[in-house]
């Protein structure tokens, strides 16, 4: 009798135990699907000529990830970044990408400044089914030529810089008659000049191109080009030069009067202002590849936190690569959080994150909403200004700033850049 009662009790307890175990197991399963940490590969140029972009972007990633981790991470999960140098060429980056995913086992990858690297890595991201957020490359080709499910870009592409430059030039100098271009002879330079020229000729059809110069990337020595521009005397000179080439161009051209003779547009110039310092001539139009200017919206709390925090830690004001990286990391956080919310609190699979990412809007410095559209491309407003030396800062700042709203400087969804420009009705 007792034995059967014991058995029954044991039976009941067994069933109860099993039920509890199943419930606990299910609980653990739900809890287990939330990872111990979110491993993120962060790729940017830490060496070589483009380190002027890469290092500030890595700094921004570091700063923001630390901030997020202090606040509890993403959905309660700590972020663990793994920083990789983008130097070495497209082949090496493909290799490193695979290593990050297959060997380091990252959950997602943020990175890439060079357009060639972006174009090379995107198909690999698709193959390996890894969420990849491109943060700085400018080529419009990446989403215009292909559709990628796993790849996003949290910034606008180069059309932004060139179109904003054209519009700003015409607002400053509406009677422009002649333009010239000096751009580095590679994809970025070609695309930038092409878009700028198209935009100018569409907005002011009688404008003439008097010279198109194509020095080699990192040529460094521009005496002949400057002489040519001095003899041609164009009203406006466009240049998408970056880094050392801007510096060389400014150092060699300014004493010879190039910048006082023509109105020069440095469409990507913002990043060099702190380096050139007091040597920067005034009256040069400078673009920030978006609205990334540390003095714009300076009182906005999000912006102020970023600028002050970045400056305190790294000794410099953040430049546009830093802002772009912020947009990428913040975008990832926003997408994950939205996916978590949409999934009722469970840790999302990558498909859910992708769904959340498409069309997402989130706040970024300098205090506005960032949009990533359903075509996986980001759009941003653009700031252009004119350099002015002031006593408060050891470098030139932007004066006569104009902010171009997103719709004015980004092609609409689904429309290719060139088609969009052609469709303008002046």
């Amino acid at each position: 009798m007792i034995r059967s009662a014991t058995v029954r009790v044991r039976g009941v307890s067994l069933v109860a135990a099993m039920a509890l175990a199943i419930a606990a197991g299910a609980d653990r399963a739900a809890a287990q699907s939330k990872p111990a940490e979110l491993k993120v590969g962060v790729v940017s140029f830490l060496s070589g000529a483009a380190a002027v972009f890469g290092v500030p972007s890595k700094n921004a990633a570091e700063w923001l990830i630390d901030k997020y981790n202090k606040e509890g991470g993403i959905g309660g999960v700590r972020i663990r970044p793994i920083y990789i140098d983008e130097a070495g060429g497209a082949e090496k980056q493909v290799s490193e990408f695979r290593r990050l995913v297959l060997d380091e086992k990252v959950d997602l990858v943020i990175g890439y400044i060079s357009s060639a690297d972006c174009l090379a890595v995107a198909p690999v991201a698709e193959e390996l089914r890894v969420l990849t957020v491109l943060f700085d490359c400018g080529t419009n080709r990446i989403f215009e030529d292909n559709k990628y499910r796993y790849v996003f870009r949290t910034k606008a592409h180069q059309a932004l810089d060139s179109v904003a430059a054209a519009k700003y030039v015409l607002s400053i100098k509406p009677d422009v008659k002649t333009i010239a271009g000096i751009n580095q002879d590679y994809a970025w330079g070609r695309d930038s000049w092409d878009t700028f020229r198209r935009a100018m000729q569409k907005l002011k059809p009688d404008v003439q191109v008097t010279a198109e110069l194509w020095p080699k990337l990192l040529a460094g020595e521009y005496s002949a080009e400057i002489s040519r521009l001095l003899t041609a005397k164009p009203d406006v000179i466009h240049s998408s030069f970056w880094n050392g080439d801007i510096v060389g161009f400014v150092k060699q051209g300014a004493p010879r009067g190039l910048f006082s003779q023509s109105l020069v547009v440095l469409s990507a110039g913002e990043h060099m202002l702190q380096d050139v310092g007091k040597d920067m001539p005034e009256g040069v139009i400078v673009g920030a590849r978006g609205d990334h200017w540390f003095l714009h919206n300076a009182t906005d709390p999000l912006h102020k936190e970023f600028v002050d925090g970045y400056r305190a830690r790294y000794g410099r004001y953040p430049i546009y690569p830093s802002y772009h990286m912020y947009q990428a990391v913040a975008g990832v956080k926003a997408a994950f959080e939205k996916a978590i919310k949409d999934g009722g609190g469970a840790w999302p699979k990558v498909d859910a994150v992708i769904k959340a990412f498409e069309g997402i809007e989130y706040r970024v410095p300098p205090g506005r909403t960032m949009t990533v559209r359903s075509d996986h491309n980001g759009i941003e407003p653009a700031i252009m200004g004119i350099t002015k030396q002031v006593p408060q800062y050891p470098f030139a700042i932007l004066d006569r700033i104009r902010v171009f709203p997103q719709a004015e400087v980004n092609p609409p969804l689904g429309v290719k850049t060139n088609d969009w420009i052609d469709s303008w009705k002046k």
């Binding site: 830490l46 060496s47 070589g48 000529a49 380190a51 002027v52 290092v55 002879d185 010279a211 198109e212 110069l213 194509w214 020095p215 080699k216 990192l218 040529a219 460094g220 020595e221 005496s223 002949a224 080009e225 002489s227 040519r228 001095l230 003899t231 880094n243 050392g244 080439d245 510096v247 060389g248 150092k251 060699q252 300014a254 004493p255 010879r256 009067g257 380096d275 050139v276 040597d279």
Partner: protein, 298 residues
């Protein structure tokens, strides 16, 4: 009239830079029969040390004209320290080895120096604009040029003349000519070839560093300038003839003026001009414009 004069002047300017770069390379080859792939790295080293010294000097607040001395000092320092070091440690063990091996050793040196410069100076670019802007400008044929550019031409010219005079006029110079012509016989004559090699290589290193230091005020000194430099140096040296300083000067002029002409007349061609000239010369006169015919020993 402006355009031809401008082409000429800009061409000569670029040629001055190229000559300083190529002179050391051709000198080293002429004496030691070694084509130093790391020559561009020595040029970069000169740029870094020159810039560093000028920046250091300017921060002390001394009289500004002396910054040029700082620039020169940087170059001489870099060349005279690294030159003998490299020659003794790396090149001496391989003089008897094949050309291939020597090329590979200098290629390894190039790789090593790239990272050494990165470790010492970091990856961010350095700028010092003062030396370029300080001397002001002058207008020639309606175009403004900086006096510094003309100074560069003068220095390149002076350097070339000095080196050629030193080789022709001094005793050591004549020993160099002897060693260049025939190493074995020079040794039997009692010439200390080993010491001469060190001297020649150091001179080459100093010339390269000088080129780098003088160009530094025009550019951003950053990792990577050596890669482009070496290709240009090769092109000039090959065009002029390996081992000939006059050839290097002429080669530099041809490349410089052609490039300047391209900028004015056909900008699209600018990228390829140097290599095309190099190929053309190698095809039609492989020993270069002033190169010596090498006698083959059977």
């Amino acid at each position: 009239m402006t355009v031809p004069i401008a082409i000429l002047l800009d061409g000569v300017l670029y040629a001055a830079v190229l000559f300083l770069l190529a002179a050391g390379l051709t000198l080293v080859y002429g004496v030691m029969r070694i084509l130093n792939i790391a020559h561009g790295s020595l040029y970069a080293l000169g740029a870094y040390t020159g810039t560093a010294l000028v920046l250091a000097y300017l921060s002390t607040g001394g009289p500004e004209p002396l910054m040029y001395l700082a620039l020169l000092a940087g170059a001489v320092l870099a060349g005279s320290i690294v030159g003998p070091l490299v020659e003794r440690l790396l090149l001496r063990p391989i003089y008897a080895r094949e050309e291939v091996v020597q090329l590979l050793v200098t290629f390894s040196l190039f790789l090593i120096l790239e990272d050494v410069m990165k470790l010492v100076w970091g990856v961010q670019p350095y700028y010092v604009a003062k030396p370029y802007a300080y001397l002001g400008t002058v207008t020639i044929a309606g175009v403004r040029y900086a006096w510094y550019q003309l100074l560069l031409i003068a220095v390149a010219l002076a350097t070339g003349v000095l080196v050629v005079a030193a080789i022709r006029g001094t005793r050591i110079g004549r020993m160099i000519i002897a060693v260049t012509a025939d190493r074995e016989i020079s040794t039997t004559l009692g010439i200390n070839v080993a010491r001469l090699f060190t001297l020649a290589f150091t001179a080459g290193a100093i010339l390269a560093a000088l080129g780098g230091a003088l160009v530094a005020p025009l550019i951003a000194v950053a990792p990577g300038i050596s890669v482009e430099a070496i290709v240009l140096a090769f092109a000039v040296v090959v065009i002029g003839g390996l081992g000939s300083l006059e050839g290097a000067a002429l080669g530099a002029l041809i490349v410089g003026v052609t490039r300047a002409a391209a900028v004015y007349l056909l900008p699209e061609a600018e990228l390829a001009t140097v290599y095309l000239i190099m190929v053309a010369v190698l095809l039609f006169r492989p020993r270069g414009l002033f190169g010596e015919l090498e006698m083959r020993r059977i």
